[in-house]
């Protein structure tokens, strides 16, 4: 091993290497071994293997973490507790999305091998978003993730909506990345380095209200807020969520959002965050954005008749809650974001999985009306969906309550009482649209009799998400122990 690549470097990117290797393997095998479309589902084995190896290397990293954070490539990559935590979320999300995808894509007539490698490549981008401590690493991670998603959102080539969604997402995404890069360039100009450590030193030497720092802050924040779909930079989300294949929507709404939150935290909270020292500048701005996000997400969701659009707006409002954790900014708030991301992964994935199962041969099944009478037809799915809706709304004893609990507590602790009242009242607004779905399922009459598209992978994925949504809600202690020490490390 040379000076440019030592074992520390190696260990710090091992999971990403696994993801790339298996992603490439899928491409090759798809081309050489499985030319027959009916055999393509065997590619899933590679995804599962890839995730197992990734998980194992994450586990190895967590052991090495006990002697302090893992830094590689001269500070370009840092693996710490929260990075690991986010990566576990990505592993779970990617795995669950992959195992339900084949049935969906077969039904949609677009089952291609590269889909699976795109999932893994996107996850590799997320890895660097969570671990990057250098502007270049972070930017490459972001772009890798985003490019994969641009393709995946437009994966239903013959579907106009999918194409439209992809082009909208691409254009707006590129636009926002422009802002982000502009902000990065200013940061580089300030510090003469792309390393976050040097940037932190350069910024903390300046007064909090420095105009150049503010410009960097504002432009970077725009790019980040776009990614987590906070208002007023949310416009892409409903269209992209609606047009994308539902499995991709699930992945986008959970993993991409979690990665972007990790990115946001990296730049705004902690010892390596350039903007941590300018909190007094951005806190009021972020508060306005959080309230705007909550308001817009919740109010716009009320009138949606397409479930994916409805869940898109709901996920906008969840971004608002996560932002509130950052605004509170104490340990409870940041822990709260972690817990929120964890429960959000399970409940939101679960909700989208039910919609995935609604897509059958010749039936799109994305309208609210398509769920009508689900309780009579497939009670299992209806009850699971009820659990996910309750959890998304934050009703105990489901997991979603725990996420909101931490956010509210953090707001109280930091004396943000007005924000706390606004945030709690939107829980009552949210229940209205979540229960529009519940009402349709439980009270509506059965309109069409075709059974739901179920598969082994679907049953496993729904079982895991449903069980976790309930388990985290009823007995959260082990999950909190899992999540919180990682963060505080």
């Amino acid at each position: 091993m040379s000076e440019f690549y030592n074992s520390m470097d190696h260990n710090s990117i091992l999971p990403a290497m696994m993801l790339v290797l298996f992603g490439c393997a899928i491409l090759l095998f798809d081309f050489w071994v499985f030319p027959d479309p009916r055999h393509r589902k065997y590619l899933l084995i590679f995804v599962v293997l890839g995730e197992i190896f990734t998980g194992y290397s994450l586990y190895q990293q967590s052991i090495q973490l006990q002697s302090g954070p893992l830094t590689g490539f001269h500070g370009a990559v840092t693996v710490d507790g929260s990075a690991l935590f986010f990566n576990w979320i990505f592993v779970i999300a990617a795995m669950l999305v992959a195992i339900v995808s084949y049935k969906y894509l077969e039904n949609a007539g677009e089952h291609h091998g590269e889909y699976y490698s795109l999932i893994l490549f996107a996850q590799c981008g997320m890895y660097f978003l969570a671990t990057g401590t250098d502007l270049v690493t972070l930017f490459i991670g972001l772009e890798l993730m985003a490019l994969c998603f641009y393709v995946m959102v437009g994966f239903l080539r013959s579907d106009k909506r999918s194409n439209e969604a992809a082009i909208k997402y691409l254009l707006l995404g590129a636009f926002s990345t422009g802002f982000l890069v502009y902000g990065f360039s200013i940061l580089y100009g300030l510090a003469d380095s792309t390393n976050l450590m040097s940037i932190v030193a350069a910024i903390s030497a300046k007064p909090a209200w420095d105009p150049v720092v503010f410009l960097a802050l504002a432009t970077t924040a725009v790019g980040l807020l776009f990614k987590i779909s906070a208002a007023p930079f949310h416009m892409w989300a409903p269209d992209a969520y609606e047009g994308a294949p539902t499995t991709v929507t699930a992945y986008l709404s959970v993993a991409s959002k979690a990665a972007s939150i990790a990115f946001l935290l990296r730049l705004f909270y902690g010892p390596l965050a350039p903007f941590a020292s300018t909190r007094q500048v951005w806190e009021p701005l972020m508060s306005v954005i959080a309230v705007l996000t909550l308001t817009l997400g919740n109010l716009a969701a009320i009138n949606q008749t397409n479930i994916k659009r409805l869940l898109a707006y709901s996920s906008i409002s969840h971004a608002g809650y996560m932002l509130l954790g950052l605004i509170a900014g104490n340990d409870t708030g940041i822990n709260g974001i972690m817990v929120y991301v964890m429960v959000y992964t399970f409940m939101n994935l679960g909700a989208f999985l039910v919609i995935v199962a609604m897509r059958r041969q010749g039936i799109i099944g994305e309208d609210l009306e398509d769920l009508s009478g689900l309780m009579r037809k497939s009670p299992g799915y209806a009850v699971l969906m009820l659990i996910f809706m309750l959890s998304l709304a934050g009703i105990p004893p489901t997991a979603g309550f725990l996420g909101k609990y931490y956010i509210f507590l953090a707001l109280i602790q930091t004396h943000h009482y007005t924000l706390a009242v606004i945030a709690t009242l939107y829980v009552a607004v949210a229940i209205y649209y979540y229960f529009k779905i519940v009402r349709t399922m439980f009270v509506g009459e059965v309109t069409e009799k075709a059974p739901l598209a179920t598969s082994f992978g679907m049953r496993v994925a729904l079982g895991v998400t449903g069980l976790m949504t309930l388990a985290i809600g009823i007995y959260p202690q082990p999950f909190l122990q899992l999540a919180l020490p990682m963060v505080s490390r």
Partner: protein, 520 residues
């Protein structure tokens, strides 16, 4: 066995639910039998609570285990006199409500009984929790089954009523959650460990004053949560909708038990945890005035109703006004009377809703004008309705009188004007109830459709018997109830008005006072 008695009472309905899920939904009668059996067992296992309860001791049947140590949440349950009465009311009404659904519900039977059993555990949980986190979970758990009971098996505007009920109560309870968290965090600031246990939180001293984070702030947050549930004027608008649209058993449970969760919240949490705010002159004045408005407004609106069920629904607003007035009289008579009146309201309004259910199953209308002279056709029905109506109206020797009288006595001690206004509610109460009885039951049969109605069946009579017996027991010999309540009520009063008992003339010991108050 004995040290887990309360847990058994709490989870028997849930165990019944677990078995119910395995009964195929086609075999409706089997489901009915099982659900009735489960709720009967739920009632029977709660009887030892009453027989082994020792008057004069504090919390009993307590159980405590760590649940979420990192949050300081415990599985802590226990009952004192107030909880005991409400738990007994819940288990009894749960059984009766299940029984009265036998023929009324024929669609989606399995889901219906599943919801009822879930609801039952939620309601008992609210009354036995000694940990705020646990309490909040049960408090919210109640909403979901009730939403479905109204939303699936309700009347024509069921969806509107169900979501209105849900939104209102949820908005209140999330604000209450903020209050809980404020208290929890202040406790941490003072004692440096996190806990949700009520007994620990009681030690917290919050700052006073009208600012964020003060006792008043927490009080108003709690107030919104509880007042919506009670419901107090002006938060009552969900109640008529929910009651009118809910199926009979849903209305019975809603009136008999769910509304008591709000008054129980005031007694168990607002008063002991926030004593200074609760005794604040302005706050007491506001709450008393809202209660009195509720009493009179509810009664006047009841007078004007053309719909039988809506009339009873508004009468609940009036009766619950008495309960909150008694609580905020902040003296032993007021509070003890309030608890008794909560039980009374559960019994008599529960009966009145069941009466409506009986007639609705036969005629499928609730318009008062459709009826008249039913006493000729259905004599048994007329007798039972008369007893229910008189117990609600507060006829001496029936339960309603004991509660209302004691509350008025407490209100009089606190402020004579309150008592003067509240008394008019008793008069109006008698007016709307007697007038209702006159229009529906007395005179000649005016509507030909009513001539062929058959009288109540054995099952229908049986479900009224325990309630009538209970009503008469409280009316004739209320002393055991006042004895049970004496200690917890004294604790609350002592907490809100430290030195209240020391300042009393020694000739009348407190136990005597309150039991005398009821016996007169």
């Amino acid at each position: 066995m004995d040290q887990h008695l309360l847990s058994i009472v709490l989870f028997t309905p849930l165990a019944g639910l677990a078995v119910l899920l395995f009964i195929p939904s086609g075999s409706k009668n089997l489901i009915r039998i099982w659900a009735n059996l489960a709720s009967l067992v739920g009632f029977l296992v709660s009887l030892p609570l009453a027989s082994r309860f020792q008057t004069g001791l504090g919390f009993q049947f307590t159980e405590r285990a760590d649940w979420i140590p990192s949050l300081g949440a415990h599985y802590a349950i226990g009952i004192d006199g107030i909880s005991l009465l409400l738990v007994m009311l819940t288990t009894l009404m749960g059984f009766i409500a299940t029984l009265c659904s036998w023929s009324a519900i024929d669609d989606r039977v399995k889901e219906y009984y599943a919801m009822f059993l879930l609801l039952q555990t939620g309601m008992i949980g609210v009354f036995v929790s000694m940990d705020f986190f646990l309490f909040y979970i049960f408090w919210e758990l109640v909403l979901v089954p009730m939403y479905f009971i109204i939303g699936i098996w309700g009347g024509p505007r069921k969806l509107y009523a169900a979501i209105k009920f849900f939104l209102y109560t949820l908005a209140g309870s999330v604000l209450m959650l903020l209050g809980i968290l404020t208290l929890y965090f202040q406790h941490y600031n003072q004692f440096h460990f996190y806990t949700f246990e009520i007994s620990e939180l009681m030690k917290t001293s919050l700052p006073m004053g009208w600012q964020f984070g003060s006792q008043e702030w927490v009080f108003w947050l709690f107030f919104i949560g509880f007042a919506i549930k009670v419901p107090m004027f002006p938060f009552h608008t969900w109640l008529p909708d929910a009651h009118v649209e809910a199926p009979t058993a849903g209305s019975v449970i809603l009136a008999a038990v769910l509304l008591k969760m709000g008054t129980y919240g005031f007694l168990r949490f607002s008063l002991p945890l926030l004593p200074q705010a609760s005794a604040d002159k302005t706050i007491v004045q506001i709450l008393a005035v809202l209660s009195i408005i509720g009493i009179i407004y509810g009664a006047l609106v009841s007078l004007m109703q053309a719909d039988w069920k809506k009339l009873i629904a508004y009468s609940s607003v009036s009766h619950l006004g008495f309960c909150t007035l008694g609580i905020f009289a902040l003296n032993p008579n007021g509070i003890a009377g309030s608890v008794i009146q909560q039980i009374n309201h559960g019994i008599s309004t529960g009966m009145l809703f069941m009466v409506i259910g009986v007639i609705y199953e036969r005629r499928h209308t609730r318009l008062i004008s459709e009826y008249g002279g039913l006493a000729h056709v259905m004599p048994k029905f007329a007798i039972i309705f008369a007893i229910a109506m008189l117990s609600s109206a507060g006829l001496p020797l029936l339960n309603g009188f004991v509660g209302e009288f004691t509350i008025l006595q407490g209100a009089f001690e606190a402020n004579r004007a309150w008592a003067a206004f509240a008394v008019s509610g008793v008069i109006l109460g008698a007016a709307y109830l007697l007038w209702l009885y006159q229009r529906t039951m007395l005179g000649q049969v005016t509507n030909g459709k009513n001539l062929t109605l058959h009288d109540m069946s054995l099952r229908e009579v049986v479900m009224f018997v325990p309630l009538i017996a209970w009503a008469i027991w409280i009316g004739v010999y209320p002393k055991p109830y006042f004895d049970i309540l004496q200690k917890p009520v004294a604790q609350i009063v002592e907490r809100v008005h430290p030195g209240y008992y020391a300042a009393l003339p020694p000739a009348l010991p407190t136990g005597e006072r309150s039991s005398l108050g009821g016996g007169q």
